[in-house]
Amino acid sequence: MRFTLSALLLAGGLLGSGLPLQADESCCDQGKAKSWKLYNSGIKWRAALSKDPARWATLAADAVKGTENMSILEREVAINAKLHPSKESGWREGIAPALETAKKEGKLLLFFQLVGDLDLEGC
């Protein structure tokens, strides 16, 4: 069954309704993550773009202004342009050390793209 038009509209409404969304407070309180036992507990991520999650959250909060009515895709382009104005794409800079490690160890990169910040446990 495919996503319906109403789902698309709802998605657009949710994403474009102003950030951050005020969701279930049981795992996030005033921007700080409450204990979420199972959250991201197994993988040892080698690189994340947000080495300093709090700083990035502040920067992102400024960067999202004016993008409220955009889709995820449009927002990604717009925000990256603000956060990484001199770079073609911010993620390349972030994963460069991991690419070097992969080359050295003869491994593949597992590149997980998501909408959310693993360091902030969703907050």
Binding site: A23, E74, L109, L110, F111
Partner: protein, 219 residues
Amino acid sequence: MRTVTFSNDKVAEQVNSKFIPVWYNRGQGFHNCEKSTEKWIFTSNTECYPTKNICTFFMTPDLEVVYYVSGYYAPDVFLDILAGVQKLQAAPKSMGRVHKEISAELTKRLEDLKTVGKNPKAVATGTGPLAPYGVCSYETIEHKHSIQCVHILNEAFRYRKEVHDSLVDHGTVPFDTVQHKYKFGNSFSEEAPVSTVADAPLSKPQAPVKASVRTGKSK
């Protein structure tokens, strides 16, 4: 993925030892920690939940994508995917052939699922082709197979096969190309239809729609 699959011991062991895992938030500033949606996804689409908000790419240091999957996959299903990627990694000069072999294997599994789908006892007991996809839990919820599992596994296999088939000719695809198709060339995306790409995109697994769908969430 964050609270079930990436927290699974077997998955973590495989990923940590065989791959270099990195993540990227493509929706900075988006607040997302709603447990009720996570629980709903787990209870209704335990084996696989199709969403384009999340995608896992397996790629070389030269940014050649060996394989990729869009959406959430339960630990056992994801371990299957990891095993396939490792087969590809072991045959760098003949990845097209390996893609073909995995595709053929998935075709067989799809056939097996057709059989088990007609056998309620096999579904209830999780035997036959469902057997490898059993143990899975989210907080206090333990998954038990139902007929829904047959449908969603069918979609997961079909989608995975489709991606493998798309890579048979060249073995890999440049990251920029696949990401461009993934983001821009997908008519069923919950994202804005801004496609300017002429070539046909891959389809994704289909899942039932929740009465009050909350997309824009990543699992």
